[in-house]
């Protein structure tokens, strides 16, 4: 048997909509939701009103103990939006949960007044309301968490792109300063952005600078070789620069064969790149000294 038939909650929300809304908003204000100025009172009132409308429709049409049905779609969408907004606005999880959980107080007060001295009914109705609001609260927290995770994921992606810039040093010369450890995922990003830039700038030489790579082990070396080979298949020669003394020693001790031209500094690599392209950097002719 469906609980919707037994409970008076939908009817109550319908009848005393205004009062619940007023009490609820007061409750939220008391909990200090709007205190930090992240959200205006008007906004809060609007959200509360829309939520109550959705809640009434959901409760009237559906069961109170299962929120996954289509009759709760509107409520879930609204909670997703509210939680998402609050995650962006910098609310804490508790502050977000209060939005739903603070509905308990006005609802319970109303139930007590309505049912009066019938203890059994009161207990049943309170239990049903409590269960419903707890579920809604949990859903809100989940939505909040999800949008926080989306933010983190996006930041990670941005960080990945930030950390692999491809710089054009000269017409046909690209530089790829690598900072941080090279793992498979990063190698993939590095390779893709390098190859794309080789196509767009028709580069012939790419300088891979590993000054910022803390250690070179067999795996990192393998990733480097992959990048170099892929660039070569696209018709660009690679030069590896920025090899620190310790790294040179490590490479030899590990018996790694990089099989690519390497230079100690980016400047040396750039000079070699220019020479390969038959270009040279020369001093400018001194302007003639006058008045002598």
């Amino acid at each position: 048997m469906r609980q919707a038939a037994q409970t008076i909650i939908p009817t109550l929300i319908e009848r005393d909509n205004e009062r619940i809304l007023a009490d609820w908003t007061a409750c939220q204000k008391r909990e200090g939701v709007a205190a930090r100025g992240q959200i205006s009172e008007a906004q809060l009132g609007d959200q509360s009103k829309r939520f109550l409308t959705e809640l009434r429709q959901g409760a009237a049409a559906g069961t109170l103990d299962d929120l996954s049905g289509p009759e709760w779609d509107g409520t879930r969408v609204l909670l997703d939006t509210v939680a998402g907004e609050r995650a962006v606005q910098g609310f804490s999880p508790a502050e977000t949960a209060v939005f739903v959980l603070s509905l308990k107080e006005p609802l319970f007060t109303l139930l007590r007044e309505e049912v009066g001295n019938d203890v059994e009914t009161l207990a049943r109705e309170t239990w049903a309301a409590s269960l419903l609001i707890d579920k809604l609260g949990l859903y809100t927290i989940e939505a909040f968490q999800k949008s926080r995770e989306e933010v983190i994921l996006r930041q990670q992606e941005e960080l990945l792109e930030l950390s692999t810039p491809v710089i054009q040093l000269w017409d046909g010369v690209l530089a790829l300063p690598l900072i941080g450890t090279l793992d498979s995922a990063r190698t993939q990003t590095v390779m893709e952005s390098l190859l794309e830039r080789i196509v767009t700038s028709s580069a012939e030489v790419a300088i891979i600078d590993i000054t910022g790579v803390p250690t070179v082990d067999t795996l990192v070396a393998q990733h480097l070789i992959k990048t170099v080979s892929a660039a070569r298949l696209m018709g660009a020669d690679c030069i590896i620069s920025g090899i620190r003394p310790q790294i040179a020693q490590t490479i030899v001790h590990l018996g790694l064969e990089l099989d690519v031209v390497s230079k100690a500094t980016m400047a040396d690599a750039f000079a070699l790149a220019l020479r390969r392209m038959n270009k040279a950097v020369t001093d400018r002719a001194q302007p003639k000294q006058s008045g002598e």
């Binding site: 390779m191 190859l195 080789i198 196509v199 892929a230 660039a231 298949l233 696209m234 018709g235």
Partner: protein
């Protein structure tokens, strides 16, 4: 679909692969190409694979073979126009085509062949 056309630009041959390769097509391409290199006394062979979205080990081996055959016939082979995604796939497969020269596009490939032929010409002239 019959065969892959071989175009002549000066003393270079240009092969543009635009259809899926299969055994028979690869064999006939190798036949045609070697005949044309000998017949036209070409010094360079350019293989344009910019239309290929997938290059597997079979095509990789074919490219290596063509390069080796051309070398025997004293012609330089340059593979041009490889897409970034194809390059990444080949590297992941461990096929780095070490025996083949590569260039970004036909323009650069032609310049590369010209450069190599010229430097070899110098070498021969010096040896005389």
């Amino acid at each position: 679909m019959g065969e892959i056309p071989i175009l002549q630009i000066g003393d270079c041959l240009l092969v543009s692969i635009q259809v899926d390769m299969h055994d028979q097509l690869a064999m006939s391409l190798q036949d045609d190409l070697t005949v044309r290199i000998v017949g036209s006394r070409a010094r360079g062979v350019m293989i344009d694979i910019s239309a290929l979205e997938i290059v597997d080990s079979f095509i990789g081996r074919m490219l290596n073979n063509i390069a080796a055959m051309s070398r025997v016939l004293d012609a330089v082979t340059v593979v041009v126009g490889m897409r970034p995604a194809v390059a990444i796939t080949l590297v992941e497969l461990g096929l780095t085509l070490t025996g083949v020269r590569t260039a970004l596009n036909v323009d650069k490939g032609l310049a590369m062949i010209r450069r190599i032929i010229d430097s070899e010409g110098d070498l021969r002239a010096g040896r005389k």
